[in-house]
């Protein structure tokens, strides 16, 4: 394992320190926690948004803290959901009286830990509601299983629900819009190299020089299929087709996100974008806005995901609304 770190077991603490120092006017860490909040939290009478999860997905989630997006991010160990007490600390730190909304990615651990925190908060009289994001079409959608993962599409939920909360919307309204985004967003990813959890010290899986994993998640877990690497165009095609098969995007307008998983040069993301755009245009799907970059990473994994969000006027307006979050400035 080759990393620019000190103690592999202290990476999260040291990262938090480096983040707080980098943005002294924007962010603060709640003392003795792994909770990072807006400097001006709590914002009175605004529904507060809390998200988080394991770390290793930077800029998710702390990069999305800011007016018009998240109020707090709870930072777990690398790829490990934070514990209920930490989520509870976040809820308490940002509650401005209008309730707290949790954006949870659909992983067993995250759902359980955030729900336990919600129970603690509710016992203290704080109104809490949540959305469980599950945009990853690589995974079968079944009520008998864990269901789909939440991946890069989560960032659109942060953005749009955050914009809604900023308008002074109620907790119910924020929940409605968050679920609307979740219902209309689909993603799929792939990787050409694995990543190494610092405390583990070895890569999460091994790929031959000519192999790729299709349907990869964001935790270094293997994908759903391993095969011989193809061209960028074929990769873009495979990911986009899977998404289009899953939801009817016909005649609609979409926001596109081409997300890098950690070590894919922007050059390659733009090459993917060119093809995705071509496919959509051919099908009469109009691209309203495009986001290319690293939004939801998996440490130093090489690979990308494609996300499509089906838009209507309400979603467009909220997507375009101002955001001061460092990793999603609008």
């Amino acid at each position: 394992m080759k990393k620019i770190i000190n103690d592999p077991n202290m990476v999260v603490e040291e990262m938090l320190k480096g983040m707080e120092i980098a943005f002294p006017n924007r962010l603060k860490v709640v003392p003795n926690t792994k909770v990072i909040v807006r400097k001006d939290a709590p914002v009175v009478n605004k529904v507060a948004l809390v998200s988080g999860g394991g770390s290793g997905h930077e800029p998710a989630h702390a990069g999305y803290i800011g007016a018009g997006m998240l109020d707090a991010a709870v930072v777990g160990e690398v790829f490990t959901s934070p514990t209920p007490d930490q989520v509870y600390e976040a809820i308490k730190a940002v509650d401005g009286g209008a309730g707290v909304f949790l954006v949870i990615k659909n992983y067993t651990g995250d759902v359980m830990n955030f729900e336990m925190a919600a129970e603690l908060a509710e016992a203290e009289g704080i109104k809490v509601d949540k959305v469980v994001v599950n945009d990853d079409v690589a995974v079968e959608d079944s009520s008998f299983t864990t269901g789909r993962r939440g991946i890069a599409g989560t960032v659109f939920v942060h953005k749009i629900a955050g914009a809604k909360a900023k308008t002074g919307a109620t907790l119910e309204e924020v929940k409605r819009i968050a679920e609307k985004v979740n219902d209309n967003v689909r993603s799929m990813g792939m990787a050409i190299s694995p990543c190494t959890v610092p405390a583990a010290g070895t890569p999460s899986f091994e790929l031959a020089d000519n192999e790729m994993e299709i349907g990869i998640g964001i935790h270094g877990e293997p994908g759903i299929e391993r095969k011989v690497i193809t061209s960028a165009d074929e990769i873009a095609d495979e990911l986009t087709q899977k998404i289009l098969e899953d939801l009817d995007f016909n005649d609609s307008e979409v926001a596109v996100m081409i997300n890098g998983l950690g070590s894919t040069p922007e050059m390659e993301l733009f090459i993917i974008n060119a093809k995705v755009n071509e496919i959509l245009t051919e099908k009469g799907i109009k691209v309203y806005k495009t986001f290319v970059g690293e939004y939801m990473t998996s440490l130093e994994m090489a690979g990308c995901s494609v996300t499509l969000l089906k838009l209507d006027d309400e979603l467009k307006q909220l997507l375009d609304a101002e955001s001061s979050a460092p990793a999603f400035r609008v």
């Binding site: 514990t83 067993t108 359980m112 336990m116 008998f144 959890v197 583990a200 270094g220 877990e221 759903i224």
Partner: protein, 205 residues
């Protein structure tokens, strides 16, 4: 009498030993079908449990389990933290009426409550390729016995954990892999095996 306060502490200590010893193995199992942190999670959690239990004085087994539960819940995270935490919390609650010592029937009932806690929290069932696939056969064995045969307990858990190899996962991260999850032992089932192997060792001395 089955378990004293000191036994319960020894149980946790022995479990900790196995977890630390097999930290990398658990992580390797989790790398194959999960996200590669189970060994790290369990190691961190049981380290904290040991620190906590070390400096505390306990009157009852229920108190020991309560501290184990709260520490696991607040220090592990991921899926295994709330699941093991909830199991020990329910076990603690089930043993509230007992004192310094726990008899076989109470203990069996506690394991029953612990497993119910895991199922309530994680919404999985036997056969989903999770830790439940070790807990359930162990509970069945206890329920069918009049007293504990430590050797049988260890063997049952061992057989159960090995059997997870042949299951296709439907819950937890391994479920994302579908058929590719087959031929791999479930990491949480393995850590549960260590727990019951440690129990067998405590009960056989």
């Amino acid at each position: 009498m089955l378990l004293t306060v000191q036994d319960s502490i020894n149980w946790i200590r022995l479990t900790n030993g196995k977890v630390q010893e097999n930290r990398e193995y658990l992580t390797t199992l989790d790398q194959a079908i999960g996200d590669g942190d189970h060994g790290i999670n369990m190691s961190r959690g049981f380290n904290e449990v040991m620190s906590k239990v070390h400096v505390s004085e306990y009157e009852t087994v229920a108190e020991v389990f309560k501290d184990v539960a709260m520490t696991l819940i607040s220090k592990v995270g991921g899926a295994s933290g709330p699941l093991y935490g909830t199991a020990f919390l329910k076990m603690s609650t089930a043993l509230k009426g007992n004192g310094k010592e726990v008899d076989f029937t109470s203990f069996t009932n506690a394991i029953d409550e612990g497993l119910k806690g895991i199922v309530m929290r994680g919404k999985a069932k036997e056969g989903d390729k999770t830790m439940i696939d070790v807990w359930a056969p162990v509970l069945k064995l206890l329920k069918e016995s009049e007293e504990v045969d430590p050797e049988q307990l260890a063997v049952t858990a061992k057989v159960a954990v090995e059997a997870t190899k042949h299951i296709k996962a439907t819950k937890g991260r391994a479920a994302y892999l579908g058929d590719r999850s087959i031929e791999h032992i479930d990491p949480g089932a393995m850590s549960s095996y260590y727990l019951f192997e440690a129990l067998a060792e405590v009960l056989s001395t």
